[in-house]
Subunit: 361 residues, 2 copies
Amino acid sequence: MLREIEVALGDRSYPILIGENLLDARCAPLCALAEGRQVAIVTNPTVAGRYLAPLRAQVEPVAAGLVEVLLPDGEQYKTWESLNKVFDALLEARFDRRSLVIALGGGVIGDTAGFAAAVYQRGIDFVQVPTTLLAQVDSSVGGKTAINHPAGKNMIGAFHQPRLVLADVGTLRSLPAREIAAGLAEMLKHGAITDPAYLGELERDMARLTACEPAAMIPAVARSCEIKAAVVAADEREGGLRAILNFGHTFGHAIEAGLGYGQWLHGEAVGAGMVMAAELSARLGMLAASDRDRLVAAIAAAGLPVTGPAWPVARYLELMQVDKKAEQGVPKFVLLEGLGRAVVRRVPEADVAASIAARIG
Amino acid sequence: MLREIEVALGDRSYPILIGENLLDARCAPLCALAEGRQVAIVTNPTVAGRYLAPLRAQVEPVAAGLVEVLLPDGEQYKTWESLNKVFDALLEARFDRRSLVIALGGGVIGDTAGFAAAVYQRGIDFVQVPTTLLAQVDSSVGGKTAINHPAGKNMIGAFHQPRLVLADVGTLRSLPAREIAAGLAEMLKHGAITDPAYLGELERDMARLTACEPAAMIPAVARSCEIKAAVVAADEREGGLRAILNFGHTFGHAIEAGLGYGQWLHGEAVGAGMVMAAELSARLGMLAASDRDRLVAAIAAAGLPVTGPAWPVARYLELMQVDKKAEQGVPKFVLLEGLGRAVVRRVPEADVAASIAARIG
C-alpha cells in the first residue's frame, strides 16, 4: 500500500509518499533529487542506528558527495548550537547552493535540519524523512522550520517547503506507546477541525492505530497529511486559515512552557489542550456537550491526558500571554462550531479561566 | 529633490525613497508603516549618535511601542551573537508577528537586522534606512540578508524584502572618503554591467560625487537603485540574471578573504576585482582594451585601488574556490561583452591566472 499526497504550492509544490518499507527499497523520487548533488543526511544517534544504513544505501550511489550529521536527541537541542553543527559540516565539505539536506528523524530533526536548509547560503533544498508519527502527520508537512529560544519555542525560524516527504510507517513500530499517542493527538485534531468522518474512522480504528498496524495507519496518516496540506496550500504563511491547526495549542503550549519543555510530549500537551478548547467551545454554546464528550473520549482512547496539571488558573493565563499566536498580548483561540468546523475567536478571559478550571486535575 | 524607485516584486513590492533630510522631516510612508505597531530600531553607537534622535522623533509618536537595539560596529560583528541581541530585545518586549524592525546604518546593520527580521517568529516586516553609500546603492536593495560564518561571508542568511527603503544622501557627508569610494565602486559596477550612459554620467560627475554633492548624488543613487531593482525584480532569488551583480566580486571576495575581512572595505576589494574582471574580459577578446582602460580609469578616479595585493596567483585561485558563487568547485565569472553588457561564463583557469597576474601590485 503506497499513498501519495500532493502539497499544492505552485512552483514549490511537492509530494508526500506514505507507505511501508519505503527506506528499504529504492525510492525513485528520492534518488532523482539526490542525483549528482552534494547530500547531507541530518539525524540523531538513535534514528541513525535504525535507519541511516538503508537511506545511505539509496543515496550514496547517486550523490556527488555524502555527509552525515548527527545531532543530539531531544527538544532541548533545537538550538543554535545544533544548527551550527549542520553549517560547519556543510561548509567543511564545501557544499554549494545546489546541495540537498535530508532530515531523517522526528520533529526536532526536521525543524532543525529544515531551518538549516532554509538559511544555509540563503536557502537550499531539503527532504523530510519523518520517523515519528507526530512528524509524519504534522511537523513534516507545511514548511514550518524553527529552533527554540530560551524565551519561547520555535521563536526563530522560517517557512521553507521541502521538495519531498517520505513517511515510512514501518519506522513507527520502534516508537514508545507515548509517542504514538502524541501523534494520534494531531490526527484527532485534524478530524476535529475539518472532518467528522475521519474522526469517526480514527475512533473506529483506534486499537489498530495504537498497535501501529500499517493497514490502518497508512490511510490515516495519508488523510491527516491531506488535511494539513489543504490548509497549508490555502494559507502558506499563516495569515488566517492555517491558524485552525493550532486547535488545542494555546492551552497546550502553556502546559509545555509551565512544565518545562520535554516533560510532556507536545502531543500530550495538545491532547489536554484540545480538551480545554472543546470545553471552552461548549461553554460558549458553540459545541454540543455530547460532541465535546465524544472528542474527550477519543483523546482518552488514544492514551493521552485529558486534564492539565493542577496549577492555579492564573498561572495558565500568564503562560498563555507569551504564546506567539498572541497579538499584542490578547491570545486568540481556535474553537469548534460543531465537530469538523473550526473558527478563530477572541473570547472573554472569564470563559477561558472557567474552561481551564474545569479540566485540570 | 526627492526620487522614488519601485522594486517590482508582486505582493512584496516596495518603494525606495532617495532624497536629502528625509530623516529630519516627517516621512509619511515610514509613519504609516510604524502606526500602531511595536517597532525596533536596530543601529550601532556611531550612527545612533547622529541619526537615532530624528528617527525616534518620527516613529515614537505613532508606534505602539519602541525598542532600540545597539549592535557593535564592524563586519566582524555580523554574527549570531549580534543576531541574538536583536532576538533577546524583541522577545523581552514581547514583540509579536506584526512587529516592525527598522535597520538604521550601513550594510552590517542592514544585513544583520534584516536577517533577524527574516527569521524572528518565521519572518516580520522591516524597513531599511541605509546611512552609507554602499548600503544605499547596493545592500539595502534586493532583500539579501545574512550573517557571516568563520568559513565564509554571508553564508547564513535569507531572501527577505524590506517594506520600504529610505536613502537620505545627507547622511553621507559624515562618511570618510574611503567609504564614499567604496559605494562608488558598486555604482560604477551598475554602469559597467548594464548602462554605458550612466557610466558616462558617473565619470563626468566624479568630483561632485566624491564631494557628496546632493544634486549629483541623488540622481546617481536613484539610477543605481533602479538598475539593481530591475535586476532583482527579474531574478529575486539569484537563479541567473542576478549573478551579473557579482561583477568583480569573485576576485573581490578572494581579496577580502585573504586579507581578513575589514582590512579593505568591500567596495575597495570590488574596485580591484572589477579591474581583474575587465582584464579577463579583454584577455578573452570580449572587451576592447580601450573600454577596459576607461573602466580602470574611472575606478581610479573614484579613489579605489586598481591592483590587488601582491600575493602568488595560486593563493588567489585557492581563495576563489570557497566563493559561494562556485558551483561544485568551479567558479563562474561575470564578464563584459563590451561596456554595459555583462555575461556569466566558466573560463579556463589559465586566463584567470594571467588576468590576476597582470593586475596585482
